[in-house]
């Protein structure tokens, strides 16, 4: 038998050692957001984190280029970029966990659909307040049109800085159009035409005719429902209620379901799968954001063209303004200052030009789009950017569910989408159920 007398102190020593080491790894290094400046000759370096949703095939390299350039120009600030998977929903989830843990990023992209949720639930420094502290702040904000700044406002206050602006367009495979006997110069203008052409593509080439993006948000589906005259969320007075079970909404969703389930001409798959299917030439038409223009253009082996988002007959087109605003979550004054500096850089004409070329997002500043030194030549030359720029006047706000259950409300719409396109429920059934659930969650 081994004598215990020796093991006890040893055990305690081990215990203390492991606890001490776990404490060190728990809150010591590995958290550059804490802003422990590295001493450099002449001053302190403020390290801040920037969270974004730009994966490798969604402008990731462009984010890295921009951050690198900023760091070169600002020796006193070091920005560390961090990609967050699963789009804005995923970013919000990780962000809330980081806030609960006390180490939020200094700057993060907040999708316009989470504007209300972020403002109400997450401690942040409103951009309006950050701009007030800067003597040049007001002059900087004057570069924007009022309706663009409104994208970052909640109840009149500028909470986030509008950064990326996108809308959904219809990309199509011109070579497959030709193979199916369709005219690539005459893309579908209405959803009825989309349905017909999808059928022809399926018959003539055996490929799917259409894929409408299905990431973890309902942006493209909102565009369909509202273009048919529906209203996803109706605000009367100070109260909001979900109204996406109107006959118009049901009709739009049922059309999509019929194409997937009855005609079997549309694909029901995840966003990644759908994108792969389009760029490998297995789907003829693809409704997704203009923000993916660069990736689709560079990875497709065929000729890609784009058309404006289709309408329902003569009804007006209504496309939600997608994209994100930049929010400041830094708490330390030095970091807040650095965060504001970084935001001003990202919104500078040079950086916005790089951003639009690397992704496809429309710049929030009109002076950048029309300046021959910046984006004008590119916008004039690139045929895919034209429909997106042309339908900017049709932009409506992207639905953002109020209250503190906004994340769950969004999930309920995602479940309804699967229920309808997966064939478990009709559009009418699923949307009615979802409206009841969402209204309960947002306090009706």
């Amino acid at each position: 038998m081994i004598n215990c007398k020796w093991r006890k102190p040893l055990g305690i020593a081990l215990l203390v050692a492991t606890m001490a080491s776990s404490l060190v790894t728990g809150c010591g290094p590995g958290n550059p957001a804490k802003g422990t400046g590295q001493e450099k000759t002449g001053g302190k370096v403020t390290t801040i984190e920037y969270w974004h949703v730009n994966s490798e095939n969604f402008g990731g390299q462009t984010v890295r280029d921009l951050v690198q350039k900023f760091n070169e120009q600002h020796p006193d600030i070091k920005v560390v970029e961090k990609f967050q998977p699963n789009m804005y929903l995923g970013l919000m989830q990780n962000l809330q966990a980081a806030l609960a843990g006390g180490h939020p990023p200094a700057v993060a992209q907040i999708g316009y659909n989470y504007l209300d949720y972020a403002t109400a639930n997450l401690p942040h420094l409103p951009v309006e307040d950050a701009a007030k502290k800067d003597p040049e702040g007001q002059a900087f904000l004057n570069n924007y049109l009022p309706n663009i700044l409104n994208l970052g406002r909640v109840n009149g206050k500028l909470e986030g800085m509008p950064y990326s602006i996108s809308n959904p367009v219809l990309y199509y495979n011109a070579d497959m159009f030709k193979a199916a006997g369709l005219d690539p110069q005459n893309p579908p203008k209405t959803w009825a035409e989309v349905r017909d052409m999808a059928r022809i593509i399926k018959e003539k080439t055996g490929n799917y005719g259409l894929y409408v993006q299905e990431p973890s948000d309902n942006w493209a589906q909102q565009a369909m429902m509202e273009s048919n005259g529906a209203q996803v969320l109706t605000r009367t007075g100070g109260k909001a209620s979900a109204t996406f079970d109107s006959p118009e909404a049901i009709e739009a969703y049922q059309l999509m379901a019929d194409m997937v389930l009855k005609d079997k001409t549309a694909l029901h798959a995840t966003w990644e799968e759908g994108t792969q299917a389009f760029i490998t030439g297995k789907v003829g038409m693809y409704v997704t954001t203009i923000a993916r223009r660069n990736y689709i253009e560079t990875s497709s082996k065929f000729k890609v063209l784009a058309a404006p988002f289709p309408t329902f007959g003569n009804k007006p087109r209504r496309v939600p303004a997608g994209g994100n605003a930049l929010f400041i979550f830094a708490k330390d004054p030095d970091q807040q200052k650095a965060a504001w500096e970084f935001i001003k850089y990202l919104e500078s004409p040079e950086a916005l030009t790089t951003w639009t070329k690397g992704t496809g997002y429309l710049p929030p500043r009109k002076d950048v789009t029309e300046d021959p030194n910046y984006l004008k030549p590119f916008m004039d030359q690139n045929p895919l950017m034209k429909p997106a720029a042309a339908q900017l006047p049709d932009a409506v706000p992207w639905v953002s569910f109020p209250g503190n259950n906004g994340l769950q409300a969004e999930q309920i719409l995602l479940d309804a989408r699967d229920a309808i396109l997966g064939g478990r429920q009709s559009a009418a059934e699923a949307l009615k159920e979802a409206v009841a659930k969402v209204n309960k969650l947002i306090g009706n």
């Binding site: 215990c4 809330q96 806030l99 792969q276 478990r424």
Partner: protein
């Protein structure tokens, strides 16, 4: 080393506790800190409404429990947990049991080769396995569906179809933990005394009779261990592919109790509801363990 004897027997008794107690202390401290304290906090949290960010949780009594027990997603998750468990029992208990028997009794050549081959997937991380299967399962470009189409069979979109998503995810988990269960069961089979089997052979017992009357009862202890582990750990292991590949989708068709708890906590930030769901899950699995103790252990043979 010599310990000086004290005259009082009472003191000796205390001392008798002191030494083993001291030896247990480090382990107990860790258990208390990392297992029992979180358990108590979870119980406390389940009576509050809290989004993990706001400074003041709100007391709501039993509301969280009532809302969960009334919700569709909880009962879906409950039935799916049973479904996952049943498939896992087939793939991770029955199948490795049969494989282990075949390998220990009937295969003579290349035993070590087969053992290594079968154990290999166990060393891979489940997250890596999930990503590999994501590629295998791709509905348009994946090799699984390419093969099925080649054979003229229907090729479903595995991860987005209601009926197939649970089997598809379970296969990933089973593929990963098959090897470990197999090795454990094999050890149990090898430990069956050879003389018993030889005696049975002399009596002209068939392979089936040897299996049913000798090997099966003598390995029941090991099998019970694997059974309990499959039931308890299985629902936690399938969490990884669920979280990585489907997020409980399509339309909650692949959610289970463990994923539901995660979703309440870290997707919806309703910590109180998550805690209540965790407590209910604990009660369910606690009940299962109790049942196992009362019913199954009676028929199990332990060597000592």
């Amino acid at each position: 080393m010599k310990i000086a004897r004290e005259t009082s027997p009472r003191f000796a008794a205390i001392k008798g506790y002191l030494v083993p107690g001291g030896c247990l202390a480090p382990a107990l401290a860790f258990l208390a800190l990392f297992t029992f304290w979180p358990l108590v906090s979870t119980l406390k949290l389940s009576f509050y409404q809290w989004n993990m960010v706001s400074p003041t949780p709100k007391w709501v009594g039993l509301t969280n429990y009532l809302e969960i027990l009334r919700s569709r997603e909880f009962w879906l998750a409950f039935w799916h947990t049973l479904e996952y468990t049943l498939i896992l029992l087939a793939l991770n208990l029955a199948l490795p049991y049969i494989t282990a028997y075949i390998l220990s009794r009937l295969v003579v050549k290349g035993q070590n080769f087969y053992r290594a081959l079968i154990f290999l997937p166990s060393v891979l991380s489940l997250a890596v396995a999930a990503v590999i299967f994501l590629w295998l399962y791709n509905p348009l470009a994946g090799p699984v569906n390419a093969l099925l189409r080649l054979l003229g069979l229907p090729a479903p979109p595995w991860l987005s179809s209601y009926g197939w998503v649970i089997p598809a995810l379970t296969v990933i988990t089973a593929w990963k933990s098959f090897g470990y269960n197999f090795i454990v069961l094999l050890a149990g089979m090898v430990a069956v005394p050879q003389e018993l089997i030889e005696a049975a052979r002399l009596e002209k017992a068939s392979n089936w009779q040897i299996f049913w009357w000798i090997v099966r009862p003598l390995t029941s202890g090991t099998a019970l261990y694997v059974l309990v582990m499959t039931v308890i750990i299985g629902s936690q292991y399938v969490f990884v592919p669920i979280q990585m590949l489907t997020n409980g989708g399509p339309d909650q068709a692949s959610t289970n109790l463990v994923f539901l708890i995660y979703q309440y906590a870290f997707n919806f930030f309703q910590a109180g509801k998550a805690a209540a769901a965790a407590v209910i899950t604990l009660v369910i699995f606690g009940g299962l363990l109790f049942l196992q103790k009362r019913v199954l252990e009676k028929g199990v043979y332990y060597e000592n």
